[in-house]
Amino acid sequence: MEWDWDFVWQIMPTLLQGFKITILATILGAAVALVIGLVFAVLRMTAPRPIARVTGFIVEFIRGTPLLVQLYFLFFVLPDIGIRLPALVAGVIGLGIHYGTYISEVYRGGIENVPRGQWEAAKATNLTTRQAWIHVILPQAIPPMIPALANYIIAMFKETPLLSAITVLELMNQAKSIANSNYRYIEPMTLVGVFFLVISLISVFFLRKLEARYSRVDER
């Protein structure tokens, strides 16, 4: 079996179409994850005890079950109770919630790392809770989180092929359908790998920059 460049150019447009969906799913999934993660983190840290406990349980539950199972649940089981999500929406929600639980721990770590004294100082200078969050705590908590958040988003990007299991026509699914009708796996699967690698390498480059920039925050 040898490499066939003609075949590569022939399948490229189809793969690019799938790649667009992969990128779209990643961006939307990341947005959902960042918001959901914040909600989980804040509920766990500031809500009354029973609610915090329940949130903690939900987070552990989602973290402890496989993403693929959750996707099947969203796609095949929810319609039984009348919720029919389109495949891509189900996929984005699945990715978003799953990674949201990881990301909530990043938020929690970042916020808890702000010394208690900062809270006390904010109180002492008569800032409201809201003002303390916005002007004192979050500006100190967020920068160290950024590299970890970016890391999770890159990891999520690499998990998007799981969406092919719930019929989302993303990169992996397009490659499979090409292989199905041409009986060749070598070019489509290699290209899938290359697409992911290129984006991952670019992301890692920017991630390094982010790390370099925000690790100096203490010295400023």
Binding site: F76, P79, T167, L169, K176, A179, N180, S181, Y183
Partner: protein, 282 residues
């Protein structure tokens, strides 16, 4: 001590590599090889009545039953089946993961070019499962292509997916469905308008689903009757020919009909056509 350890490791790697490359050279003796091994590896789907895997893991269905019998007559004691997607079967065969495909993989010219088929075994027409009353009035793949709202579900790499794409249904309206159960579920949930499989498969699924809101359109207009055969790797023609001889004998003696007719297949249909006819480009 350490050195010796490395040497042992290098030696075992070399042995492994040798045992890897050995089968490639032995195409002519494929049958002997299978006899010695005691079983043939076959690729199946899980699509009754073509191929079925029971809750206890027992493999049945018309295609594996015929293959098991013929391999037995050839002196190969048993078959070991692995479930595969339709689209992955031919690449898997080419990669040497299976010795034969016995899964209701219908003969089409482009598949005939990729594998060595036996003579026809199981024949069936195509069918649609859809919502009761056929609200979109779909009776052919062309109808689906012409209706911009209609979506069709089919197994990935299966004949139905190809027929839909050939009829001009755009890729984003041909949904690849992983298995029969999810196909019916997606139809019930309204994710797809049509689920297409061969007639006997659709009937089997609907009989199990027992859903009064679904109905069958069969046969699909404009889609001919297709037949499958056992598919062998190109280069294993001698094994294929031996398989064909036994198949012909069984067709002659009526044992062939005895195996496939309880599953609902027509032996007469398979006997009235040939690989040559089915593989000829239309």
């Amino acid at each position: 001590m350490k050195m010796r350890h490395y040497l042992t490791m290098a030696a075992s790697v070399a042995v492994l590599a040798a045992s890897w490359t050995a089968p490639a050279a032995a195409d002519e003796n494929k049958l002997e090889e299978l006899k010695e091994q005691g079983f043939a590896r076959i690729a199946i789907a899980n699509e009754p009545p073509f191929t079925a895997v029971g809750a206890d893991g027992k493999v049945s269905g018309a295609a594996p039953d015929v293959a098991r019998e013929i391999f037995k007559r050839l002196g190969v004691e048993d078959v070991a089946a692995s479930i595969s997607e339709y689209g992955a079967m031919i690449p898997g065969l080419q990669a040497g993961r299976h010795d034969a495909i016995t899964a209701g993989l219908f003969m089409k010219p482009e598949r005939c070019a990729a594998v060595a088929y036996s003579e026809p075994i199981l024949c069936d027409a195509e069918a649609f499962a859809l919502k009761k009353g056929n609200p979109l009035g779909l009776t052919s793949y062309k109808d689906i292509a012409d209706n911009p709202d209609a979506t069709i579900g089919a197994p990935g790499g299966g004949t139905e997916e190809k027929l839909a794409l050939e009829a001009g249904v755009p890729r984003d309206r041909v949904i690849v469905v992983p298995d029969g159960q999810s196909g019916i579920k997606m139809l019930q949930d309204g994710r797809i308008d049509v689920y297409s499989l061969p007639v006997l498969s659709i009937n089997d699924l609907l009989a199990k689903a027992q859903d009064p809101n679904l109905e069958v359109v069969a046969p699909v207009i404009g889609a001919p009757v297709y037949c499958d055969g056992a598919a062998f790797k190109k280069g294993d023609e001698s094994l294929r020919d031996a398989f064909d001889v036994e198949l012909a004998k069984m067709k002659e003696s009526g044992e062939f009909a005895k195996i496939i007719e309880p599953y609902g297949f027509s032996a007469a249909a398979a006997m009235s056509t040939s690989r040559e006819k089915l593989c000829a480009p239309q």
